[in-house]
Subunit: 225 residues, 2 copies
DNA sequence: TTGCTCCTCACGTCACGTGAGGTGGC
DNA sequence: TTGCTCCTCACGTCACGTGAGGTGGC
């Protein structure tokens, strides 16, 4: 919280220092590489030194967050930066992409069953416990990954009632995040909704990692190391 | 729970099928690559087909888990596999590496504070809420990642009482997993304890991903997409 | 014979890191 | 002049993916 005066621009080393708290692995070479790939375009001094304005740093932060939390390849990040409002995400998840019609991300029941490799009765259970639900008469793209993972767990002997525990835990953490971003959501300024969503996903990503670290520690204590 | 008869060996495609639940991104080419790098050595049929025994599959699972959960480079994973008992981990995490003596994985309070970039009062809170606790007068390696992540969340305005929600959720999921592996733990056969631990970590990994997928879906419904 | 699985080997790719050799600025 | 920061450019590296061209087994 050292209140620095607002500088007009920063050198690459200063940018690195600003980012290295949140992204410890970043190096100068990475920033130069991102410029060479066209993801950022900092100004230059007469002698060729990069001059980063605040919006350049924000853009870097966005790129690094997208990489860390959403595992997006740079090509996709660049597309999103270049056209920030168009919903041009045509199947860029590693899953899915099962030959459903044109640009449809919705799945029929049959597609979901086949894509997840589960029986109809198992899907019934997932719906009953609220892990998956229909939107209209089809299923959203989330349903596929949820069903896949539930199926994987079932092979370990994890039963539907156990899944309910996970669902409840996820709900609690989600509502926590909603509480935290509620003030952002209530703002009526331009782009406030998107920023709230972005922040919510960032918090979700970090809290998932915390959750994982805690479970790791607890399993260790239980002698399950 | 399809009780399959214990097979002597599996083809590469069958291995892929066994692993793809927990590791959806793995492909045949990766398995071949891992062999070419000397991390696995499956037997061969007279005609050159790879024959994976169960221990080969276990080894693969170990490698994939180490990559996904601990971000270890293959070189380090190979070293650990080649010398499984020597604690040769001399600062191979991307974090830390703060000049703590010889092979100590334990941290002093000062090291933990510095490594996580937090104030002493914040660590007090983390201890109070049970997110971090001492072992003797030092802290385990888990404490560092937990503290770092908690610090990252605090920048978003997530408070200590929120962290308690995450802790509680993690505890519930952990005890669920303990229930599932309890039968394995009670076995007194050779290696049963290790297998129970391995299974527990696998289940934990998948349930974390399910948890993440559910939160993603819930945030989407809340208009935070 | 037909599918299907599996094989090798060369090359490509993505996201950087390294290091040589040099310039700019207080 | 001395450090220090910064620059480019070529090359290396890590962890795979792709695709051609072929063989094995029920």
């Amino acid at each position: 919280m050292t209140a620095q005066p607002a500088r007009a621009y920063y050198g690459i080393g200063e940018v690195l220092a600003q980012l290295s708290g949140e992204f410890p692995n970043i190096r100068e070479s990475k920033i130069r590489f991102l410029e060479s790939e066209g993801l950022i375009e900092p100004a230059r001094s007469p002698s060729g030194y990069r001059r980063f304005r605040r919006h350049d740093v924000e853009r870097l932060r966005y790129i690094l967050t997208a990489q860390r939390d959403h595992y997006l390849p740079l090509r996709v990040i660049k597309e999103r930066l270049d056209s920030p409002d168009s919903a041009s995400s045509a199947g860029n998840t590693p899953y899915g992409q099962a030959g459903a019609g044109a640009g449809a991300t919705m799945l029929t029941r049959a597609e979901l069953l086949e894509g997840a490799g589960i029986e109809s009765a198992f899907l019934d259970e997932l719906e009953e416990f609220g892990l998956v639900h229909r939107r209209g008469r089809q299923y959203g793209p989330d349903a596929l990954s949820v069903a896949r993972l539930a199926e994987a767990l079932s092979r370990f002997g994890v039963q539907a009632r156990h899944l309910r525990v996970i669902k409840a835990a996820a709900e609690r953490e989600t509502s926590l995040i909603e509480q935290v971003v509620a003030p952002l959501q209530r703002q009526r300024s331009a782009g406030a909704a998107e920023r709230a969503g972005q922040t919510a996903r960032e918090i979700a990503a970090v809290s998932m990692r915390l959750h994982a670290a805690l479970m790791d520690a607890e399993l260790g204590e239980a002698g399950l190391a």
